[in-house]
Amino acid sequence: MQKLSDRGINLLFQSGAILLALLFTTIVLVLSDAPPIEAYRNILIGSFSSWKQFSDVLVAWVPLLLATAGLLVTFTAGLWNIGIEGQITLGAIFCTGLLRLTLGGDVPPWMAISLSILAGMIGGALWAALAGVLKTFGGVNEIFGGLGLNFVATALTLWLIFGPWKRPGIGSMSGTEPFPMELWLPQIPGLRLSVWSILIAVIGIAIIYLLLQGTYFGLKLKAVGKNMRSAYILGIPTTRYMMSSFLICGLFAGLAGSIQVVAVYHRLIPSISSGYGYLGLLVAMLVNYQALWSIPVSLFFAALNIGSIQLPIVLKLDSALAGVLQGSLVLFVLIMQGARSRFTKRLLR
């Protein structure tokens, strides 16, 4: 009985959080003289009304899920890897770099693509390793080290696009010269979606799920995240584990960046990371660091991003609304979590 009512209370608070987030967003909409129901309806239509649109949601979902998957590892190790944006960017840079090398050579396309994805993963991991070294050997908080590295990564992208990798004749925000079709991850005809990238995402999250749930590595990482000193005394090489978590997250971030290059933009563009790193942090927080739940939640977030495009088209509204909804959802879930534990504590007394 106790358990059941516990769940009931939990459910009550969680649905309360969602309702509050909806209420908040609705108020924001009303404040700007917009019809709330219409707005929500259009977001839904924009993401789920046709297979084509849903495939666009999936295109956005893949890198978001990969970023989230990586972040679950660093979160487990108690690290706030805010530098993931830069890690995605470096992944894209390395991926682009390798693809450029294969241009005009005799490398078969499948090999070029695989190699470039691998290179991207390495690039992401290297950038994460930098944040990791700063954290574990330099004592620099990963939030600040990561933020700084994000800026450096952005600058690096711009420099490459306007400098060494500029398109013949011009240098512009549109990025580097697009790669020929052979170097794209094969797409489903008529859609921008690639079965391969879906496969990569699903395998990726499955690996993370297994890693965190079933292995000694995952358990040790959890111990490091919860209490580094105790973990060390229990015999876990904490430095190595923290570095590993950075590296794994970097691999996944780099993978997300590679997907952005080989499956979405087919070139390096200035904001290649598309904010997926920050959004992934929100998803990871919302799912309370449980790998499997990040699948539907990241899908929902991707749908909000894609569906909100309808807002300017149909209702002349700014699509920043999607961000408002995403942010308020996480905020209210956090607040309600706190409210719930306060509430149950009071009940106990």
């Binding site: 924001v28 404040l31 700007s32 706030w80 805010i82 700063l134 050997f137 330099g138 004592g139 620099v140 908080n141 939030i143 600040f144 080290g145 933020l147 700084g148 590295l149 800026f151 450096v152 952005t154 600058a155 711009l158 420099w159 306007f162 400098g163 920050y278 942090l281 929100l282 927080m285 509204l317 700014d318 920043a320 609304l321 999607a322 961000g323 408002v324 995403q326 942010g327 308020s328 996480v330 905020l331 956090l334 607040i335 979590q337 706190g338 409210a339 534990s341 306060r342």
Partner: protein, 332 residues
């Protein structure tokens, strides 16, 4: 460049850094009380919009600044409530707010895009403005810049020279000891979080009504400044003077980047613009590395004199955060 134009350029740095000064001092005060407000980036964008919108609607810059402080205070109140009362992670809540406030600003700020609004004009302080060098540098600025300079010293005096300021240090350092000495720790944390948040909230209107006058939505050139301000707070070692130095150094590097552009034709401008970040990381590295275990171990293996010398250097660089930063206080 002539001497006078360098001087004027430097004066411009003091203006350009003013909003960052407000934000870092605000954050320093909040963190001194043991609370991290990670929402700075979103708060600055939101308050820049709100401040501008208010000023445009009412025609009063003063109201614009007050509106910014109000919104900044409200945002930090959410952080205070969820972290102090509800015991949720400050970092998580702050980060969410950083994103939420930014999008909220873009969504709600649409009607005010590109409007021509009031702007704070410079106010030359009579007599003082004619002091050679200093006059140009310090006394031909606008009111908010003067306030930003005053705030640096006021914050420093408050934290290090007044009784409540010492208590503030205590609250962030060892809340239990502060409690025994009569402090209502959680109330004080609320107060300082909101005061700090209001100061951060002032940074927004200082941009939109003075330094980067106007509101242009996503192209206002504000996204990112809050993260920079946060990094400067850490760089400043929770000391207003050092934090202000960081803010000025940052603005100086930005300025140097564009002044040097013609003389360094082979260095892309992005590289110069990004220079402050590696520098900041380096600075963070220097202040923190003395606290790491491997340095202690390595030092132990070195000959006596070398060891003492390095240890001394590292100690002089070290800046330790308030011991209870981010740790909730529970009175049993």
């Amino acid at each position: 460049m002539t001497g006078i134009s360098i001087l004027i350029g430097l004066a411009g740095i003091i203006t350009a850094a003013a909003p960052i000064v407000f934000a870092t001092i605000g954050e320093t005060i909040t963190e001194r009380a043991g609370v991290i407000n990670l929402s700075v980036n979103g708060t600055i964008i939101l308050t820049a919009m709100v401040g501008f919108a208010t000023a445009v609607t009412t025609g009063s810059t003063l109201l614009g600044f007050l509106a910014g402080m109000l919104v900044g205070g409200l945002v930090s109140l959410i952080i205070a409530f969820s972290s102090i009362t509800l015991k949720q992670s400050q970092v998580a809540v702050g980060f969410v707010l950083a994103l939420l406030c930014r999008d909220l600003a873009y969504f709600l700020g649409n009607p005010f895009m590109g409007l021509s609004g009031p702007r704070l004009s410079n106010f030359h302080i009579p007599l003082l403005k004619d002091i050679p060098l200093l006059g140009v540098l310090f006394f031909r600025q606008d009111v908010m810049t003067y306030l930003s300079i005053l705030l640096i010293f006021a914050a420093w005096i408050w934290i290090f020279r007044t009784r409540p300021g010492l208590m503030l240090q205590g609250i962030g350092e060892r809340p239990a000891a502060a409690f025994v000495r009569g402090a209502n720790v959680n109330l004080m944390r609320y107060v300082y979080t909101v005061i700090g948040g209001a100061l951060v909230g002032l940074a927004g209107p200082v941009y939109s009504l003075s330094v980067k006058a106007g509101w242009k939505g996503t192209i206002s050139g504000l996204d990112g400044i809050g993260w920079i301000a946060l990094a400067i707070t850490i760089f400043g070692g929770w000391n207003p003077l050092r934090a202000a130095f960081g803010a000025y150094l940052f603005a100086l590097l930005q300025w140097a980047g564009l002044v040097l552009q013609p003389s360094l034709p082979n260095i892309p401008s992005q590289v110069l613009q990004v220079a402050p970040f590696p520098l900041m990381i380096l600075a963070l590295l220097l202040v923190n590395i003395g606290n790491t275990e491997w340095i202690e171990r390595t030092l132990a293996g070195l000959p006596e004199d070398v060891r003492r010398l390095i240890a001394k250097i590292l100690r002089s660089l070290r800046a330790s955060p308030p011991a209870s930063l981010g740790v909730p206080f529970e009175q049993d």
